[in-house]
Symmetry: C2
Subunit: 214 residues, 2 copies
């Protein structure tokens, strides 16, 4: 008679690798989930009253941190960027591997600022500021939602901080990685308050732990 | 001998309507622009040394406001949300019509807050806060990047502020519009500093004005 759990999963990159792992943990979305023409935002699960919601990666963290979803899957880049106190990330799912890196033009960054003040384009303002602060550098972050690689060539920022997988996108845009901020992989995340009050969450964490090692 | 202009256009909704208008104003992207498999972020134009960049709507405003692109097309929702001093929006392109509205569950908003303090999910934190402030209400905005319609049902927020076109997505999610914040249409935007120093921009503004009325 309990309220169904809501499980938030991200669109895009991680999802294809996450689905087999979810299946091994007993979380299988209804057929409509795979219908590319569907406008639905929320899906039933097979053999369970759990609901799946498919949202953007940053929004997975927001839904789970506020307890609107109790559990979810998201990259460690997003977990670290938000640094929400109510988010607990107990399982490294060992999928969706990439890295968050600083990159600049192959010929060197064209800085408008000084040595101690740089302008950086990124989708990750918090991680970017923290990375440069640790080196005693004040970074002014221009927040972009995509296409960071365009920024140096157009003079928007001397450097970018972005996810790098094969490095091909950087190369195509004449950029080289200069330092790595974070090794990224997908994590199972749960809402801390929900974990204390709902025993189903501990069961799901155990099922995902087993699914990763199987 | 002058540096090529960069023209920023948004992915998605507005683009299909914008292309014929751009063509009437003499801005025609190279064939690769229409290749859906292309990974390119920047495109040449036919009969012009202008470059086109195709980025997310919010990023169009960021590139133009910083002068990294000198001209662009974006919805008035984005222009109003950012309220950048360096953005000038001289031409209403009369395409991409929709509205920014407040919506709540058909049965009424389930508010966790009080009458004078509401929680609202939106991609538009600034416009949302300003709308409610004008009514003497303090709105706590939960910033989402998409799927706002899920928020009331999952208890993330009592209300949402989102773009509404046909109203079908709201209806599918059991929501009704309660007030309209802004009538939205696409605008030609230019960087103010660039407009003062580059005569080509006045020519483009005139060409788009003529294209709209033709």
């Amino acid at each position: 008679m309990s309220v169904p759990l809501t499980f938030a999963i991200p669109k895009g990159r991680i999802l294809d690798e996450a689905l087999p792992l979810m299946a091994r943990a007993g979380v299988v979305p209804e057929a409509e989930f795979h219908d590319k023409g569907s406008r639905a935002l929320s899906f039933a699960c097979v053999d369970s009253d759990m609901r799946l919601i498919r949202v953007r990666a940053f929004d997975v963290a927001t839904f789970v941190a506020h307890g609107a979803a109790q559990i979810g899957i998201v990259g460690s880049d997003v977990v670290e960027e938000f640094d929400y106190a109510d988010l607990y990330a107990p399982v490294d799912l060992a999928i969706g591997h990439c890295r968050l890196s600083v990159a600049e033009p192959a010929g060197g960054a064209q800085d408008t600022g000084s040595e101690s003040h740089l302008r950086v384009a990124s989708k990750y303002p918090s991680l970017t500021r923290r990375h440069f602060e640790a080196q005693g550098i004040q970074a002014e972050v221009v927040k972009l939602n995509g296409a960071m690689e365009l920024a140096p060539g157009l003079g928007l920022a001397g450097r970018i901080v972005d996810l790098v997988s094969t490095g091909r996108t950087l190369k195509d845009n004449g950029l080289i990685e200069t330092s790595e901020i974070l090794q990224v992989s997908a994590r199972l995340i749960v809402n801390r308050a929900a974990l204390k009050t709902d025993a189903r969450l501990a069961g799901l964490i155990a099922a995902f732990r087993a699914a990763v090692t199987s």
